[in-house]
Amino acid sequence: MKAKTSRLAIIPALVLALLILPIGAATLSLLGTAFDWKFGWWAHSLEPFETSLGAFQTVLNVPGFWTSVGLSFWIGLFTALISLTIVMLFIATFLSSRGFFWVWVLMKPVLAVPHAAAAFGLLFLIAPSGFLIRLVSPELSGFLRPPDWLIVNDPAGLSLALGLILKEIPFLFFVTMAALPQTDFRRPRIAANMGYGQIWSWFISVFPGVYLQIRLPVFAVIAFATSTIDVALILGPVTPPTLSVRILQWMNDPDLSMRTTAAAGAIIQVGVTLLAVLTWWAAEYVVMHLGRMMALRGWRFKRDKILRLLSVGLLGASVLIVSVGTALLALWSVAGVWRFPEALPQVWTLKSWSDQATNLWETGWRATIIGLGAATLSLALVLASLENEYRNNKRATRLAWWTIYIPLLVPQIALVGGLSVLFIRFSIDGTLWAVILVHMIFTYPYIYLTLSDPWNAFDTRYLAVARSLGKSVNRAFWSIRLPILLRPVLAAFALGFAVSIAQYLPTLLIGAGRQPTLTTEAIALASGGNRRVIGTYALVQTLLPLIVFALANLVPKLLWSNRRGLQVRSVE
């Protein structure tokens, strides 16, 4: 017994090593490149680049640099604000209704759609030559040729923000749902009985507690939105693009001295993300004080019907847009000739599928192995961490807590770029295991994020009963806690799998081209802009996580079909 505990106790150290080693290596190599330090294994043995602060001066002098910075900053905050607002309004409106469960069922597949696939779907939908305008052309609009409207790639980044919001809504919905079981639902009802509006009741009685639990995910949303690359490449502004896209362009510049510029840019990117999070933090206080003031004054906000309708409309629209976008991907994958203004393909063909069959199979299979590997190992580590916390009655320290989330908060381009130098140095790049290991840096935090709350909300008296009946602590874990928590455990596993499938930069840089997956292949093929190929790959990229999500849903249902207490209730 004692031995078991001590064996589990090395888990936190293992996890921290998994996370801190790469983060440290990445930081050193990034700083080393940006400041051009001439020592250690990341030294440049080539012609001298710029020295010390030169790279930062170059970055600051790039035309339109501050516009790029401003774009990244505002898109991060705007995305988080809008998606959080929509999710919160919706949950406040509908939590108690029966339809809520079905919304959740509809929302889950959207969660599985990779960001890039959702972005392409949106592009095919709203571009001037896209599906919406084709639908009304030429009969209603009179357009024989697409109108010269600046919809996607708009300089303010609105279409980019929209693309991000579509994907962040289901994510925030997901984490909020995980946090909800710990809240007392009687509170908003009591408030409503006291004459408060339905939404306002929820905001003053439940929201503060829920928000504390989903705060880190919200920060992760801000970080992701300020530094996203794939979505920004598809929907974002062009002249100038967001900061992250600029960094990518500098990294891709044939002039190698631009790499120091890119490293300096990546450090500034970290700063921009940090600034956006801090701004949000400051805004939290303002909102808190305003809310408190309004609550103290006894404002009721009784007439919130419009707001309630709006919340339904916006959330419904977001699910609809992603669904139609995915359908458009499917349509393009079987389209032959499909010219404007035809709403449907003029010629249908399976050529794209048959051309890609072998390739899809090979890269899809590898992506699945990597995804299953990374998700399984991460899940095992997360379970061990959580069980260790419980057995030793020790919650994760603040520092450990933040370390776990660094990979979600630091722009990937900064983290992975530095990491690849380390992998090359020790010649462990290009192997399947290296790729799985790097994916774990990103799957672990997401799995921990989604599992820790349901895990800690578990009624541990069940375990105490088991122990009092003479069962070992391990037996209690395997036959009581795990079965009861199977549903959230598998849901977290599915999310980890989806996260792994979507990884582009880590797979590309650590895989050294030897481990092509669905996503690296999709991006390489998409660089040619062939919509039929994009449709084909994006669809398979969506299907894989979807299957795993569906299985995660189905397995507990089948396994525990004879255990009524373990069936789904209206709120998981």
Binding site: W37, K38, F39, G40, W41, W42, A43, S45, L46, E47, V62, P63, G64, T67, P128, S129, L144, R145, P146, D148, L150, N153, P155, P237, V238, T239, P240, Q249, M251, N252, D253, P254, D255, L256, G336, V337, R339, F340, V347, S420, V421, I424, R425, S427, D429, G430, A512, G513, P516, E521, I523, A524, L525, A526, S527, G528, G529, N530, R531, V533
Partner: protein, 405 residues
């Protein structure tokens, strides 16, 4: 430098100096031993993967070299060649002198210049000693020996040629605007129907150079890197021309296309009426695929158009150097070049000299059918030489300063 850093650097230098020397590179003059060494090797060829027809062609090359020479060829599909350059550099910095991830890379222009300047390629010339190199038209095509003004010096092997070509829908545009004055007038009369790719994308930069060459009477300034005065004086007419047409471009010149493929997609969606490409066979291929109307035709500017070539190169630490040479040599074979020139396959112009080919091969090239949108060699007209590479960099920077913010 802090003391510990000094110790580190000494240790690092020591580690590099004692690292084992790479085995001797294969010698293409002794071709039989290259073939023997290549047998059984696996060649990782990093090549842009954005075009289905090119990927399919490379897959065919893989089958051929496997059955003929026992070389296994794997295409690593990439989206940006500069990533490969960065990859090789990272391996160089990490001291990996053998077993590099890249065996062969599809490259030209600035990426080749960087690889060569930094010493990241095979150290001694090899491409000119490949058996099939003798068939290439290196005497008459300066683009085969000078890659964007960087001397090739046998460090990369030619694969295909390219020439800036415009294409348009003749059903909508009756006469091709094939001079700068005509193009300007057409753009102003047809607002929103023309655009180019945003520099530093290569097709965008090429368009700037093409316009600049058309507005400059004395081309001798382009042979050397410009100083600030020369650059300002020479490019003033270019910026004036762009300032005049930009308000009438697609999306009013507020955004630009990303690359040649997006230009093709825009034409396919009828968002624009004139597009441009580096592959003179592209419009015909696209017609074959049903992407653009049958009525699309090509044209070049009446004062000539910018041309260049693309190559394959072998990094200094490639794992399968002999195998890579065998692949490069096969790419130069009449059979491989013939297939590449076929517009139903790819339509990329050959680097071989017609009069050096056997009568059978000549007949096979003669039998190639080109589509309605492909210009004949005579119609393609004069090839303009690329300006010195520093001009491109300066043009990109100035364009970004003026229109990129």
């Amino acid at each position: 430098m802090p003391p510990f850093a000094k110790i580190f650097s000494i240790l690092a230098a020591f580690a590099l100096s004692v690292s084992p020397l790479a085995a001797a590179d294969p010698d293409p003059n002794d071709w039989n031993s290259v073939l023997a060494e290549a047998k059984g090797q696996e060649v990782f060829w990093h090549a842009w993967g954005g075009a289905q027809n090119i990927n399919a062609y490379i897959a065919w090359v893989g089958q051929e070299v496997q059955s003929r020479y026992g070389v296994k060829l794997t295409q690593v599909k990439i989206s940006e060649t500069a990533n490969v350059v960065a990859r090789v550099l990272a391996e160089f910095e990490a001291g990996r002198t053998e077993n590099g991830a890249v065996d062969l890379v599809w490259v030209n222009g600035e990426n080749f210049a960087t690889l060569k300047r930094q010493g990241l390629l095979l150290s001694s010339p090899w491409s000119t000693f490949l058996p099939n190199y003798a068939l290439t038209d290196f005497e008459n095509k300066p683009v085969l020996t000078s890659d964007f003004t960087t001397p090739v010096d046998g460090l990369e092997s030619p694969w295909g040629t390219a020439q800036l070509t415009f294409y348009y829908d003749s059903a909508i545009v009756p006469t091709a605007p094939d001079s700068l004055a005509a193009l300007e007038e057409w753009i102003q009369k047809n607002p929103g129907r023309f655009t180019y790719a945003a520099p530093p994308n290569f097709i965008g930069t090429t368009f700037l150079k093409q316009v600049l060459l058309g507005l400059t009477s004395d081309h001798s300034v382009f042979k050397t890197a410009p100083d600030a005065t020369v650059f300002e004086a020479t490019t003033a007419p270019l910026w004036a021309w762009l300032d005049r047409v930009h308000p009438h471009l697609w999306r009013s010149g507020r955004i630009f296309a990303a690359d040649t493929t997006q230009l093709k997609t825009l034409l396919s969606d009828s968002e624009i009426d004139i597009a441009m490409t580096f592959n003179p066979g592209e419009a015909s291929s696209a017609i074959n695929e049903g992407l653009i109307p049958q009525t699309v035709r090509s044209f070049v500017m009446d004062y000539g158009s910018i041309g260049n070539a693309h190559f394959v190169a072998i990094p200094f630490n490639a794992n399968a150097k002999a195998g890579a040479m065998v692949v490069a040599n096969f790419l130069l074979s009449p059979q491989a070049q013939l297939r590449k020139s076929d517009e139903t396959i790819w339509g990329d112009p050959t680097v071989l000299a017609y009069d050096k080919l056997s009568p059978q091969d000549q007949a096979a090239f003669d039998a190639l059918k080109s589509g309605p949108a492909t210009l004949s060699a005579a119609e393609l007209g004069a090839t303009l030489n690329e300006p010195d590479a520093m001009w491109s960099e300066a043009l990109d920077a100035e364009w970004l300063r003026r229109y990129g913010g």
